[in-house]
């Protein structure tokens, strides 16, 4: 004789709820405990995957004309940004739409490339592990752009907080090479009307 299994709805709901609770606690532990490491490892995986694809296009720099002879494909990774002062290393992609910014730092297509002698504009989300820490940057901190075609060093000059409509805060020129890093301000989720900007100037390449 087999015993008939009786479905206990209340117990089932309780088990599901407890499981859900444990999964949620696990997510929170992972997010808050390992967030920076996750960002770094995901970035590393993206870098390996994308570099493999992008290696097909070799970027060359004409140092006389101060111009790239070929440009990276839109949306592809072409550099890493390294800022030792805030322990930051992130991939830099050409373009800055939402999809691109979800992978790392985006290069505004209407700005110059590192080495071209003009304004380079890089945007990043203000999440932990992305550009949240640029708020801590101080004058003379070093920012390195390690591009596929060369390595470029910049020194932080100043920071500023501006309204998102203040385009004058983003001067695009080619008289002097400057780097502008920006993120939404203040930190947090949702639409922000202000931007935190870091202005840095070219301090030479790594051989100088």
């Amino acid at each position: 004789m087999h015993k008939k299994l009786k479905f206990n709805g209340k117990a089932f709901v309780t088990y599901v709820a407890i499981s859900f609770l444990f999964v949620s606690i696990f997510i929170l532990i992972v997010f808050f405990g390992l967030n920076n490491k996750i960002v770094r490892y995901v970035g590393l995986i993206n870098t390996i995957a994308i570099e493999k694809k992008d290696n097909e296009k070799v970027l060359k720099f004409d140092s006389v004309k101060k111009r790239l002879t070929s440009y990276p494909a839109y949306g592809s990774k072409y550099a890493n940004i390294k800022i030792e002062a805030i322990d930051l290393t992130l991939p830099v992609y050409y373009g800055d739409n939402l999809e691109i910014l979800s992978h790392g730092i985006g290069h505004y297509a209407g700005s110059y490339f590192p080495g071209e002698g003009g304004t380079v504009i890089l945007a990043g989300h203000n999440n932990s592990g992305y550009f949240d820490k640029i708020l801590e940057l101080k004058k003379d901190d070093t920012v390195i752009i390690d591009a596929d075609y060369g390595t470029f060093k910049y020194k932080v000059d100043r920071t500023d907080i501006v309204n998102e409509n203040n385009l004058e805060a983003f001067p695009i020129q080619n008289d002097r090479e400057m780097l502008i890093l920006y993120t939404c301000y203040p930190l947090g989720i949702g639409h922000k009307t202000e931007r935190f900007l870091v202005y840095a100037y070219r301090a030479g390449d790594m051989n100088e």
Partner: protein
């Protein structure tokens, strides 16, 4: 849509320039920075649009036939804008519907009859290289870089909080 007019100028001006093959680079840059006076207001390419235009020139080749066609469309566009009597062309979406239609048609003519391809969708203008890959997406300069925190995390916080409430209630009920 906002940047449609600007994009039209970028694409057209840079290609119009290419029609003059003997032009030196400095003259070319001069031409890219040219000012257009329409109904008393002067328009000029923004610095970031100029950067894009120069980059397009460096990476794409355009036949003189295409360049001539586009140059004629620039003249046509300026003529249409002058005849409209409008003074502010900085915001495409605020222009009269018939004028927008005429200008869009010119851009479509360029896209259909030359090797320069551009599309618009949800306010974003996408310009393509001649090999069909994306050259650039034209959106505003300043992007929304607020936290893109995944919805899972706030949901997890909510679930844990609810769990705690249920637990406390049960403990109280059994006490």
């Amino acid at each position: 849509m906002k940047k449609f007019f600007v994009t039209f100028l970028v694409v057209n001006v840079l290609l119009g320039v290419l029609g003059v093959s003997a032009m030196s680079e400095s003259k070319l840059l001069e031409k890219l920075s040219a000012k257009y006076n329409i109904n008393g207001t002067t328009y000029q390419l923004r610095a970031d649009d100029k950067v894009l235009a120069e980059r397009y020139l460096n990476t794409n080749e355009v036949s003189s036939k295409d360049a001539d066609y586009i140059a004629s469309k620039i003249d046509e566009a300026i003529e249409i804008m002058k005849k409209s009597g409008e003074k502010d062309f900085t915001n495409f979406s605020k222009l009269p519907a018939s004028l927008k239609k005429d200008l869009k048609k010119l851009v479509q003519d360029v896209a259909s009859n030359t090797s320069v391809k551009a599309t618009t969708a949800k306010g974003v203008v996408i310009i393509y290289n001649q090999d069909g890959t994306v050259f650039a997406e034209i959106t505003g300069l300043v992007k929304n870089t607020g936290s893109n925190l995944n919805i899972i995390v706030p949901a997890a916080i909510l679930v844990v909080a609810l769990g705690a409430v249920v637990l406390v209630k049960n403990v109280k009920a059994n006490a």
